[in-house]
């Protein structure tokens, strides 16, 4: 559905994109992750025809984003970053304007607008001026605008930034629903958003793709898990015994408010039953074990690791 090949974009001397390539299949929901200035928005602006690439090519549905720009734009619904809207317009007037300019036939316009209004939960505010709406509602108007012409592809640039937690959940649910019958690319800072709604994650950093895989595969590729435990016992003895049990690994020990000891040990990929060994140790010494568990690495760890690596490399380059 979407193909991007060695796309670059320079802003003057700055290289915003340094040759990124990826493909998105029909129906996929892609999470575009990356720190600010990584090139997420630039990529989206090129796909939507707002900016021209410096080199490389991109196509949507087999149509080139530069040569067939108008046809590409007709197939895309776009929510730009920070959701620009015509504040002085009423919600229904605005959606009608968007439907008209996108060429929704007059006979279907009412249905199309009604569908977008319902999907985005705007029924109560259609008669209001956009300026009067809360940020969450404005965001929904932006989304309604993006889907009113029933596009095949949705490109959403940070659809939940600046919203409060309740609004984020609402918008996220909405995106999940839209993902059922659209090809979606969404960029975000919030990793939970990607965990919840995206089938695939592309992480960009410094204008390059540093990871492109399913969320699970990315997390699985991170060989980092941590054992944590809460133990009631003499601190010095616990420290010594644990160091013996986990040779060569760093053991973090801290005292909790109730006097128990909080233990964290990074055990890497160790498949061995380290939990069991730890439990035996506690029993043997007649301490008490209040809590024991294992933390797997999260997408956040993956993100931090990859984007840090890229920026360190960039600094050395």
């Amino acid at each position: 559905m979407i193909e991007v090949e060695r796309l670059t974009k320079d802003y003057g001397m700055a290289h915003a994109l340094k040759g990124i390539s990826f493909a998105v299949a029909r129906g996929e929901v892609i999470g575009f992750l990356g720190p600010n200035g990584a090139g997420k928005s630039t990529t989206m602006k090129i796909l939507t025809g707002y900016l021209l690439p410096t080199s490389g090519r991109a196509s949507v549905d087999g149509l080139d984003v530069v040569a067939d720009s108008l046809q590409v734009r007709a197939r895309i619904g776009y929510l730009p970053e920070s959701t620009p809207l015509y504040g002085e317009m009423r919600v229904d007037d605005y959606l009608r304007f968007c439907a008209e300019i996108r060429g929704v036939p007059a006979t279907q316009r009412r249905t199309a607008i009604g569908r977008a209004v319902e999907l985005c939960g705007l029924q109560r505010v259609t008669g209001k001026n956009i300026v009067e709406l809360s940020k969450g509602y404005k965001q929904r108007v932006g989304l309604a605008q993006a889907i009113v012409h029933e596009p095949e592809v949705l490109i959403l640039d940070e659809p939940t930034s600046g919203l409060d937690p309740n609004q984020i959940v609402e918008v996220r649910n909405l995106i999940e629903r839209l993902g059922q019958d659209h090809t979606v690319i969404l960029s975000t800072h919030y990793l939970q958003e990607v965990e919840k709604s995206c089938s695939r994650v592309i992480i960009v950093s410094q204008g390059q793709i540093v990871a492109d895989d399913s969320r699970d595969a990315l997390v699985a590729a991170m060989p980092r898990s941590t054992i944590y435990a809460r133990i009631q016992g003499p601190e010095q003895a616990v420290r010594n015994q644990l160091a013996e049990l986990f040779p060569g690994r760093e053991v973090q020990l801290s005292t909790e408010a109730d006097g128990s000891l909080h233990v964290r040990v990074g055990v890497g990929e160790a498949k061995a039953p380290v939990e069991e060994a730890l439990a035996r140790l506690v029993v043997k010494n007649n301490w008490s074990l209040l809590e024991l568990g294992r933390e797997r690495s999260t997408l956040e760890d993956v993100f931090r690791q990859l984007t840090m690596e890229a920026s360190v490399e960039a600094m050395h380059a």
Partner: protein
């Protein structure tokens, strides 16, 4: 055409959704009607619209930049330009829609001055043909001013900057139509330079049409003038796609 019509309707409507329409309308009509009535009726001259039409280029100079300053600058400031430019619409269609909306708004305001010739025709014999011709010339002149203003609006995200740049450039264009200034400039410039300056000024062409002499060359001039600035406007927008 559909795209132009959709943009046109939205822009025209947005004039009336903001206070600009009313402030503009009241001030413009107030000044023009006050000036015309004092100049004309008190002097007891024969019924003619000449004063009215001769005054318009000067008033437009100060008023029309106010109509065009937000056309692009506001889109750039609020980011809605990103929506416009990602709709499946050509840049030329966006520009046409906005331009004709501004012109239509002005035409609506001018419609309110129709009471002037009507009053005159009640008290004396008024020749309507040159009056209608002069209204047409006024619209052409306004189109030229609006094209300049809209061009400047596309170059900035600040409406006030757009306003000032339009004002200064229109003032220069206006001045270039005055023989007195040109005579003075003739000391420093070769004669072809003077002809060029005078040839560019929209004011020069206006005076003949306003007097009721209609020449297709004048019409052609206005079309070229508007075309030049509207095209420059498009180039600014294209350049933004490259630069980002």
């Amino acid at each position: 055409m559909r795209e132009v019509a959709v943009i046109f309707r939205r822009e025209l409507k947005s004039y009336f959704l903001s206070p600009i329409a009313y402030v503009f309308g009241v001030l413009f009509l107030g000044i023009v009607l006050w000036y015309t009535s004092t100049a004309q009726i008190l002097n007891g001259q024969p019924a003619s619209m000449e004063h009215f039409f001769r005054f318009l280029p000067l008033v437009f100079l100060f008023f029309l930049p106010g109509l065009t300053m937000r056309l692009w600058a506001e889109e750039r400031r609020s980011g809605t330009i990103e929506l416009l430019m990602t709709f499946p619409v050509r840049i030329g269609q966006l520009i046409s829609g906005k331009f004709f909306a501004a012109l239509a708004f002005l035409a609506i305001v001018l419609l309110f001055t129709i009471g002037l010739p009507l009053t005159l025709s009640m008290y004396g014999k008024l020749d309507w043909v040159p009056v209608l011709g002069a209204y047409l010339a006024t619209l052409l002149l306004a189109g030229a001013y609006l094209a300049v203003g809209m061009f400047w609006s596309s170059t900035t995200r600040d409406q006030i900057v757009a306003l000032l740049l339009s004002l200064v450039s229109l003032l220069l264009l206006y001045a270039m139509g005055f023989p007195e200034l040109l005579e003075w400039l003739a000391q420093f410039l070769p004669s072809w330079g003077i002809d060029l300056l005078n040839g560019i000024s929209p004011y020069k062409y206006f005076t003949s049409i306003a007097r009721g002499v209609f020449d297709t060359r004048d019409l052609l001039y206005y079309l070229c003038f508007c075309g030049f600035f509207l095209h420059a406007n498009a180039l600014v927008l294209y350049a933004r796609r490259h630069r980002g």
